[in-house]
């Protein structure tokens, strides 16, 4: 059966704590951290962007499965912070892993679920035998305006999955999607920061789509929550995914491994990829995983996965937890500099 052949992840090595951000705005850091269940978030360095993160994660995935560029027939990168409005991220990733020129590539945008749409595309192409392997990447260096609630959670990171039919470490048993026109969060062309509908982003947006998609996925699979070892959903903050998972009937033990937002913030398109990578880092053959992504605008992609025996032979060192444990705290001034929030003077 087709599925995940390999996976890679990347989390920047800096983080800022919620209390530090709150102190700049005269807000109650403890209250913000508790209300969002986000205590720190990753901060990309000044030389990091969606492309560098995508390349790092993809190189890790290629190395883990001893793949080279010739094995890759497609690369699709999902993000809402592609460095270029016109010029694909995916071609640069392809060049960096020596997969050019005999492949197809494109960038996707569907808010935070563009990467999982890329998985579905690769799955279709592999299933149709158009390609041997395709790479789906979910990555973001998300934007939160200074002083906005998003600033407490918008972070950076990403994952890269090789989707194929041979040497599969986790079969994708089935996938389904739940899509509507729901304007909960958006950024118009040329705007630096997104706008959001406040509380509207909750019940009629995230919860409606994630819960509906999760239920559809389990109905199609003929499963119940107890049949799964893990669940990972999109995680815009640390509270929403817990409430969604519990509504679907899952327990702490099932969702805590993939719940990274309390420590690294909301990595947007990278969130489900990183959560799933953290699960694969420790998963055993036979483990079953439910993954449900969410993208504003809005839609959810659901995946029913089963880990295979192949995972036991994979070198799974340099885990997501290793990356998180290496993160160093920066202050707001450094964060502002790294994120280009300072107005610089001209130098002669």
């Amino acid at each position: 059966m087709n599925g995940i052949v390999s996976y890679g992840a990347y989390v920047p090595s800096h983080k800022i704590e919620t209390g530090e951000i709150a102190s700049v705005w005269g807000a109650d850091g403890s209250a913000w951290a508790k209300n969002l269940n986000v205590y720190s978030k990753s901060v990309p360095g000044p030389d990091e962007d969606v492309i560098t993160i995508a390349v790092e994660a993809t190189r890790q995935a290629m190395k883990r499965a001893n793949l080279n560029g010739d094995h890759i027939g497609a690369i699709y990168t999902g993000s809402e912070s592609h460095p270029y409005a016109v010029k694909p991220t995916s071609t640069i990733v392809a060049e960096a892993i020596s997969a050019t020129p005999n492949l197809t590539a494109a960038d996707y945008e569907f808010a935070c679920k563009a990467g999982t749409a890329a998985i579905q595309t690769c799955l279709g192409m592999v299933g149709d035998k158009q390609i041997e392997n395709g790479i789906a990447i979910g990555v973001d260096t998300s934007q939160g305006a200074p002083g906005d609630a998003l600033e407490y959670s918008a972070s950076a990171g990403g994952g890269s999955f090789v989707i194929g039919s041979k040497n599969v470490i986790a079969t994708i048993n089935d996938t389904t999607s739940y899509t509507t026109d729901t304007p909960d969060f958006w950024r118009r062309e040329g705007q630096k920061y997104p706008r959001h509908g406040g509380r509207f982003t909750g019940k009629p947006a995230f919860f409606k789509h994630v819960i509906s998609c999760g239920m559809m996925m389990m109905e199609r699979a003929g499963t119940e929550a107890k049949d799964y070892d893990y669940i990972v959903t999109h995680q815009p903050n640390g509270k929403f995914p817990i409430r969604a998972a519990k509504t679907l009937g899952f327990t702490n033990e099932q969702f805590e491994t993939g719940l990274l937002t309390p420590r690294i913030g909301n990595t947007y398109s990278g969130a489900v990829f990183l959560g799933l990578a953290a699960i694969l880092d420790i998963a055993k053959p036979g483990d079953r995983i439910l993954a449900v992504a969410y993208g504003s605008g809005a839609g959810s992609d659901g995946f029913d996965l089963t880990v295979t025996n192949k995972i036991s032979k994979m070198d799974r060192s340099e885990t997501v937890e290793d990356m998180i444990s290496r993160m160093k705290i920066v202050n707001y001034a450094t964060y502002a500099k790294y994120r280009g929030k300072l107005k610089m003077g001209s130098t002669k």
Binding site: D28, A31, R195, H196, F200, K203, P204
Partner: protein, 388 residues
């Protein structure tokens, strides 16, 4: 002058009604009120609409004709009038209909209030609400209603020793009442401690001192009392009505901790029916902030100036107390949809006087009062209602 009765009521649940448009809300409550009154569209002589914000939140003006149209009254060319006085829009719309019927110009009017406040961002809805303050002296200078009421609170605390605990008791009591109101936005109890420990908005006001900006609608059918019997429903008479205005900006007033327009409107309403404060069995007041409920009860004369907060803490305004106040949950817990609020307050008192308020029923309620004001009470409208 003819007597006027309320023969029908309708109300939606208040809250974040993202799946309902302004016109849907208006239609829903209008039909409910007409159905409750037992009248048909042909009986309606006029429509009055309370709405504050549609122009800025929905880019929709001319709301009166819109509502008449969507309530199926356009083909009958029913006169439709929009009334705007910030958060007093609903109460004032009732007063306009009351005067038209009392004056003999019409016999039956439907008065509806509807508002959509949550289809825009929090900052946009706050900006819209601030339009009810003085643009030149207040909103343009950065003053919000929270900050203006915070100054009123500080002044009240300084002069009368009003405490944090007393302020919190207002909100906790209103949530207790809302827990028995299925139409309330927040139908659950909260503790005084939770109010006192909620996030600071503008010192000393905390988040749970402040009413939300809600979506919602309410409607009543007013009828000349002499013709009300024809429709059979238990009618409630409007025995008193008063209105007053004051300086729009707070700083032009002599006292920061008083709302003179409420005092004057109440005096006029009492005078119009020969009643006094101690004749009132229950009251709905405009608690957009906890301090507003305290000051309103003092201005109306329910309690002496500087004494209301302590009486609230003692439980005198709680269901079962001496003068149950905001049995609906008030603006704080039932919700505050500016144009609909004044009408929703009247709906609550009508339900109480009919004996249809369920678990929150005030025993033997005969006379009820409604106080609705706009801004920091630059407009105040009072109605006194009496059951059969």
């Amino acid at each position: 002058m003819r007597e006027v009765s309320i023969i029908g009521i309708g109300i939606t649940k208040f809250g974040e009604l993202w799946d309902k448009s302004l016109r849907q809300l208006g239609l829903e409550t209008g039909l409910a009120a007409i159905s409750d009154a037992g009248i048909t569209s042909k009986d309606i002589d006029a429509l009055y609409i309370g709405n504050m914000a549609a122009g800025s939140t929905l880019q929709q003006e001319h709301v009166s004709a819109l509502m008449a149209d969507y309530c199926g009254l356009a083909s009958q060319n029913v006169p439709a009038t929009r009334v705007e006085a910030a958060s007093a829009s609903g109460g004032l719309a009732i007063r306009q209909a009351y005067m038209a019927i009392a004056g003999g110009f019409i016999d039956i009017a439907v008065v509806g209030g509807a508002e959509k406040m949550t289809d825009v961002s929090d900052s946009e809805s706050s900006y819209t609400v601030s339009m009810g303050s003085d643009e030149q002296w207040e909103s343009k200078a950065g003053a919000t209603f929270a900050s203006l009421h915070a100054m009123m609170t500080q002044s009240h605390m300084q002069q009368y020793g009003t405490t944090r605990e007393e302020m919190s008791a207002v909100s906790a009591k209103n949530h207790y009442h809302a827990s028995m109101n299925p139409m309330a936005q927040f139908p659950f109890t909260i503790s005084s401690e939770a109010v006192s420990n909620s996030g600071l908005v503008s010192s000393p006001l905390r988040m749970l001192d402040c009413a939300p900006n809600s979506d919602g609608a309410a409607a009543v059918v007013l009828c000349a009392t002499e013709k009300a019997k024809k429709y059979g429903k238990k009618s409630i008479r409007i025995i008193g009505s008063g209105q007053a205005s004051d300086t729009l900006s707070l700083h032009h007033r002599k006292h920061l901790n008083q709302m003179p327009a409420i005092r004057v409107a109440a005096k006029r309403a009492f005078k119009s029916c020969g009643k006094k404060a101690n004749d009132i069995d229950l009251i709905e007041v405009h608690d957009n902030f906890t301090i507003s409920e305290i000051i309103a009860l003092e201005e109306i004369g329910i309690f002496r100036r500087g004494k209301a907060a302590a009486k609230i803490l003692e439980g005198e305004t709680k269901l079962g107390g001496k003068i149950p106040t905001n049995t609906s949950g008030g603006l704080k817990a039932r919700g505050h949809a500016p144009g609909a609020t004044g009408i929703a307050q009247v709906v609550e008192v009508v339900q109480q006087l009919r004996g249809e308020a369920g678990d929150r029923q005030v025993k033997d309620a005969k006379i009820g009062m409604v106080e609705n004001h706009g801004g920091t009470a630059a407009t105040a409208v009072i109605h006194i209602l009496e059951g059969e």
